[in-house]
């Protein structure tokens, strides 16, 4: 299989990757934009039957539409990083091989979802997960929904559900009210965020917002029927058809880890002021370098593309980047997970959803490796992306390097990898 050659391969078509691709394409570079979703936009600009492209995404499509030096590869997974700057891809079930001069990681973030009793019942989803499903056309009209977890995203999720006809019963935030209140006060430094918070709070209704509370149990037979919430004044059970629970975001650094990039203590890819990772010719931008929101991701995407092109990064971008990094730090402090969110659920609670391994079974082992070998936790199709994060939080076990293939792929793709490895090695000699 011959490799398509690109000056810059951008992995991820969310705000950071789209901005990076646009800047690089406008400078005349030959760019591949690779994303595993069927359409560009990432999580925040996700399109769907009821979700037209946002203004920002429309602008991007208009700006890049006529470009002949941009190859947008949707529904494409990165299966493996091969030697000599090659990537093995699986596009709509078929293998593909590309070669790049510069690699730009804009792999974004995923939700931190934590186990609680009954969290495997149909009707329980992530918080951003529910938003994504609803944007994809999942009906919630008339459903009673509890949104839970932590962070500013919860209000946005509640608002999306409500706009699609759901009855949002409560928004359950683990952070104490005092911290949420001082975070809201700090929003005066970012007027656009303040306006957004006020309009969301007004739409969802402040009376439904409960800080200092966590979801501890989903009840139901075959699907969710109610959810128990723990507050400082005791437990309360709310009847609901769905609970959407997410405790903030964690960087998607799987590919970076496998390449050998230095990762910081929060699991994010370490970058310098030019968005360079610790590896030559590998750049990173957006939430995979630290959770910071869409505005920061866009600025970092532009900076990373300029750096990859060898162009100077303009001072205005650097200034914007500092401003949004300060905002991100305030979010991080306000919504840091407290003891209630970090409390270990009962031992019988499922931890690994792929292999149905309980928390008690995992907790009996000294480290992640032993737990994997002896219980099969983290050995299913998600490759520990869900339970590994919970294990890191509960037991302090370090995150491990994912092995290739990074996602389940077809045997044809693996066979193509064998051929490609031979070719890449011989061409490298």
């Amino acid at each position: 299989m011959t490799a398509d050659r690109f000056d810059i391969a951008v992995i991820g078509a969310g705000p950071a990757g789209l901005e990076a691709a646009r800047v690089a394409v406008e400078a005349g570079a030959r760019v591949a934009l690779i994303d595993d979703n069927p359409r560009p936009g990432g999580q925040i600009w996700r399109q769907g039957p009821n979700a037209a492209p946002s203004a920002s995404l429309r602008d991007w499509l208009r700006a890049t539409g006529p470009s002949t030096n941009l190859d947008v590869m949707n529904a494409t997974k990165v299966a493996a990083a091969l030697d000599d700057k090659h990537l093995l891809l699986e596009r709509d079930g078929a293998p593909a091989l590309i070669a790049y001069s510069k690699l730009l990681l804009a792999t974004g973030a995923r939700e931190r979802v934590l186990p609680f009793e009954g969290w495997t019942l149909p009707g329980v989803t992530g918080a951003g997960g529910l938003q994504a499903l609803v944007k994809g056309g999942m009906p919630v009209r008339g459903e009673r929904i509890v949104v839970a977890g932590s962070g500013p995203l919860l209000l946005a999720v509640a608002d999306t559900a409500q706009r699609h006809g759901a009855d949002v019963r409560a928004v359950i935030e683990q952070a104490p009210l005092a911290r949420v209140a001082s975070f809201v006060a700090s929003l005066s430094a970012t007027p656009s965020k303040l306006a957004q918070a006020v309009s969301l709070a007004r739409a969802v209704g402040v009376s439904r917002y409960r800080a200092g509370s966590v979801v501890v149990k989903a009840h139901g037979a075959g699907r969710m029927e109610a959810v128990t919430v723990r507050t400082r004044s005791g437990d309360k059970t709310i009847e609901a058809d769905r609970v959407a629970c997410g405790y903030g975001l964690v960087p998607n650094a799987t590919l970076a880890l496998a390449l050998g990039c230095v990762i910081d203590g929060n699991g994010a890819i370490s970058v310098d002021e030019h968005q360079r990772t610790s590896l030559p010719d590998v750049f990173a931008a957006g939430e995979c370098t630290g959770i910071g929101g869409m505005e920061l991701a866009r600025v970092e995407g532009a900076c990373a593309a300029l750096a990859a092109l060898g162009a100077p990064v303009d001072a205005r971008l650097v200034q914007q980047r500092s401003r949004w990094r300060a905002f991100a730090a305030r979010v991080d402090r306000a919504f840091a997970l407290g003891p209630a969110a970090r409390a270990l659920p009962p031992a019988s609670t499922t931890m690994c959803r792929c292999e149905d391994v309980s928390i008690g079974e995992v907790a009996a082992h000294a480290n992640w490796r032993d737990a994997k070998l002896l219980t099969r936790c983290g050995m299913g199709p998600c490759q520990g992306r869900i339970c590994g994060e919970a294990a890191a939080l509960y037991f302090g076990w370090p995150r491990v390097v994912a092995r290739e293939p990074f996602a389940p792929v077809r045997i044809e793709t693996l066979l193509a990898a064998c051929d490609a490895t031979g070719e890449v090695q011989s061409s490298g000699r």
Binding site: A75, R110, T125, G136, R353, C382
Partner: protein, 82 residues
């Protein structure tokens, strides 16, 4: 109004708006569970963004396709594991 496309879920035909994800089509079909876990527990889409693999189904005979990252198009044949 969106154009409709027709898909088949476990042998039944369902019309859904174009650009609907397979995960959403499964919900429109009205079944809570779309898969059984290794210990036969009912499961359905969870993370919504291609991470957890709970929503996997067979599409056009291809096993382990993520319903949340696949768009419905006319004639798509979806088989759940429920």
């Amino acid at each position: 109004m969106n154009d409709l496309v027709h898909v088949t879920i476990d042998g039944r035909t369902l019309a859904v708006p174009a650009c609907t994800t397979v995960a959403a089509a499964l919900a429109l079909d009205g079944q809570a569970a779309t898969r059984r876990s290794v210990t036969r527990e009912p499961r359905a889409a969870f993370c919504g963004m291609g991470v957890c693999h709970e929503c996997r189904v067979s599409v056009d005979g291809r096993a382990h396709v993520l319903a949340c990252q696949t768009l419905c198009r006319d004639g798509l044949v979806i088989e759940t594991g429920r």
